[in-house]
């Protein structure tokens, strides 16, 4: 495959010409949310009746719900009437035709991460489905996937071409009324990714999606649905960056994973949304609902996340372990610097027999940041032989940051084995001096210590993502020690 930069331009343009996206001539909707807005979103996407009804039910439930206030985060009230719920580039001419037209800040971030954008598609076995402002513009490697029957496409395309799968699985893991933000997402989601892996198929490549938030004052509401049919296997990579913005932006995505009998889903995230400046101005509010359902026996869902961005992160990728012998894993690195606030963790719900879960959480706090781990391990009465191991480590850099751990355990089966380990450590002046005496700069020393701290999680990431994650951490903690 060619590594020429214009190759990706060609792909982007060609895909676009093929008309994967139909509704590009529309403007951003005026701010505010009512049933008409929900209808308009659905109409613009030419959705079938069932989906409109589904959205409307979600909207009505959302109206009755209260914004949650239990997380260890603080922010001014969000005016949901001030948000525009649908944004789309005005015309073809507004779309990036080449890398020259892509936001330089975005490219700069990629550069800092060591992987220029034009190399992304070239990365062995990585398919790219880029979301620019709520609408997909490029999908690559499609043929190779369709050869084995894998469906990997923008959500709207799945609605058009595979409505039966969408209808069957949408909301089956995260119901519309699940929580305030999930309900909002269900009403107004505009785009996202859809993956279906047929029975017995091992997806031949890592699947990857890059999101970014572009238009100011536009909330983003992605919806991702991944279904791994019996005996199948898929590894999905999600990564995001956002250019600098002064106003806070709401982001409320929903990700649903369904693993049927003997299926395995590995979902990896490197999240790097704009965290606000060093004084805490601006930045993304990231209120995400991610949940996987190990629906069949012997299924496995593994979440790996590296969270460095966002002003506020509120996110608990979870596993419902319904199938007997099913396995849930959660590996997380959450970094909070400056005035970032993170309240993140996981839920492992043991329902089937001999289910097991592993939680490894690494929280890093620097500057004036607050970083909380919140995790729930619930063992239902019928879950004989359930096992959980939780390890929760916090690393503090500097004097003004905070680390908090809120582990919840609800064990209703006396045979369950549940373990929880927690540590808190600090990068000490002695460690830094030791490294400097060995010729290593302070910044490199911090990076080295932080990366050492996160090693257990990084090794769960696919190779190229691990490299990126490491670089991202270094960028995120620039100037953390001063």
């Amino acid at each position: 495959m060619s590594t020429e930069p214009d190759n990706i331009e060609n792909i982007v343009n060609r895909r676009y010409e093929h008309g994967f996206v139909t509704d590009i001539a529309t403007d951003t909707m005026p701010p505010g949310l009512d049933e008409d807005v929900v209808r308009a979103i659905s109409a613009r996407k030419n959705e079938p009746e069932f989906l409109l009804e589904w959205r409307l039910r979600a909207y009505r439930q959302w109206r009755e719900m209260q914004e949650p206030d239990w997380a260890h985060v603080h922010y001014p009230p969000i005016d949901f009437e001030a948000i525009s719920y649908y944004a789309s580039p005005k015309s073809d001419d507004d779309r990036p035709k080449s890398l020259d037209e892509v936001d330089p800040k975005l490219l700069e971030t990629y550069d800092k991460l060591g992987i220029p954008l034009h190399e992304r598609a070239r990365l062995a076995g990585v398919a790219v489905d880029a979301v620019f402002d709520s609408v997909s513009v490029a999908t690559t490697f499609k043929e190779r996937l369709s050869d084995v029957g894998v469906i990997f496409c923008p959500f709207s395309e799945a609605v058009a071409n595979h409505p039966e799968l969408v209808q069957k699985y949408l909301g089956s893991v995260v119901p519309q009324r699940d929580n305030f933000y999930a309900a909002l997402n269900s009403a107004v989601f505009s785009e996202g990714s859809f993956v279906y892996i047929p029975k017995g198929v091992r997806c031949p490549m890592e699947l990857s999606t890059y999101f970014r938030i572009n238009a100011a004052n536009t909330g983003q509401f992605e919806r991702t649905l991944i279904i791994a049919d019996e005996g199948s296997h898929v590894s999905y990579l999600e990564g995001c960056t956002a250019p600098m913005r002064d106003e806070n932006q709401l982001h409320a995505a929903v990700v649903e994973l369904v693993a049927l009998k003997d299926a395995e889903i590995k979902y990896s995230t490197v999240q790097n949304w704009y965290p606000g400046d060093e004084n805490g101005v601006g930045g993304i509010y990231n209120f995400v609902t991610k949940r996987g359902d190990c629906r069949g026996a012997n299924s496995k869902i593994s979440w790996t996340q590296v969270e460095t961005g966002s002003a506020i992160t509120w996110k608990y990728p979870s596993c419902l372990l319904r199938g007997d012998n099913s396995v849930g894993e959660f590996y997380s690195v959450a970094v909070a610097n400056n005035y970032q606030q993170a309240d993140t963790g996981t839920k492992m719900i043991h329902i089937g027999r001999n289910t097991s879960s592993t939680i490894v959480s690494k929280g890093i706090s620097a500057g004036n940041a607050e970083n909380a781990y919140r995790g729930l391990v619930r063992v239902m009465p019928q879950a004989d032989g359930a096992r959980n191991h939780t390890q929760c480590d916090s690393l503090l850099i500097g004097k003004n940051c905070g680390a908090h751990t809120f582990p919840y355990m609800e064990i209703k089966n006396s045979g369950a084995r549940v373990e929880h380990e927690a540590t808190t450590s600090k990068i000490s002046a002695d460690q830094l001096f030791y490294c400097r005496q060995r010729g290593i700069s302070e910044e490199d020393a911090v990076n080295m210590i932080v990366n050492g701290f996160c090693k257990e999680v990084f090794k769960e990431l696919p190779m190229e993502f691990a490299v990126e994650a490491q670089a991202l951490l270094n960028v995120s903690l620039e100037g953390a020690v001063g």
């Binding site: 060995r438 290593i440 080295m448 701290f453």
Partner: protein
């Protein structure tokens, strides 16, 4: 190589070094002895550039330039190595990784290529054999869970790999059993070359049975009160430090 002149240094509001002068040439081994609190470790830390110690007066010249102007990592890259009295643990950071990063930082400074991974491993194993260290130490966290003796051997391993021009060993002999002491001494002696200088900070004469110094200096209350050859160390062993303190005051 190293020229210390009338050096005064404080930590917090306490003055520890009170006008210390010392001259070290290439090829020499100097032993700095003295009672607890006399400023031995402070001297080592000041040469290495620890930020807690403020130099209030005097000068330190290294290879003809002002050492006090340099950041700690710059001093290290210029060839100054401190073997710490209490090497710190850095959990999660691989011992080999630190060592390689350290060597490469220095090589980069010298305009050299990064060390080849195989070459590094070969060299490390060679040095470890000399120090009687198990190669699996390379894959453990830096000093993580090491015994006192293991930590000290690890310091000497780093020194042997980094090949400093000026090595300062701060109480490297403390807490070592006789086998470890021999191994450490052997490591140090193997570095004795005409273009290199070594400063041994020690409380006891014992180490000097294995590493024979060219000069012995006795530190008391932040100043060198007596200098001599290795026989001075033996005298001290016999008479104790009070003998010199009295001599200095009298």
């Amino acid at each position: 190589m190293l020229e210390i002149s009338n050096l005064k240094a404080t930590i917090g509001t306490t003055e520890i070094l009170r006008g210390l002068s010392l001259s070290v040439n290439a090829g020499e081994v100097h032993a700095i002895m003295g009672p607890n609190g006399s400023g031995k470790s402070t001297l080592a830390q000041v040469i290495a550039g620890h930020a807690d110690y403020k130099v209030t007066e005097g000068s330190v010249t290294y290879e003809g330039s002002d050492l006090l102007e340099l950041e700690p990592e710059e001093r290290a890259r210029e060839g100054i190595f401190l073997s710490f009295q209490y090497p710190v643990e850095i959990p999660g950071v691989n011992n080999a990784y630190l060592l390689k990063a350290s060597m490469n930082a220095k090589r980069k400074h010298q305009g050299l290529e990064e060390i080849d991974a195989f070459e590094f491993l070969k060299l490390a194993k060679e040095k470890m054999a000399l120090l009687g260290m198990d190669p699996k130490f390379l894959n453990r966290g830096v000093n993580e869970g090491f015994s006192g003796g293991e930590k000290k051997r690890n310091e000497i391993l780093q020194m042997a790999m980094l090949e400093p021009r000026l090595a300062i060993l701060d109480e490297t002999d403390s807490g070592l059993d006789i086998d470890a002491l021999r191994a450490v001494a052997e490591g140090v002696n193997s570095l004795r070359t005409p273009d290199r200088a070594i400063i041994l900070v020690t409380h006891y004469q014992r180490l000097l049975d294995y590493i024979e110094p060219d000069f012995v200096h006795v530190l008391s209350e932040g100043r060198i009160v007596r200098s001599g050859d290795k026989s001075l160390a033996l005298q001290l062993e016999e008479k104790g430090y009070d003998w010199l303190r009295e001599a200095a005051n009298g």
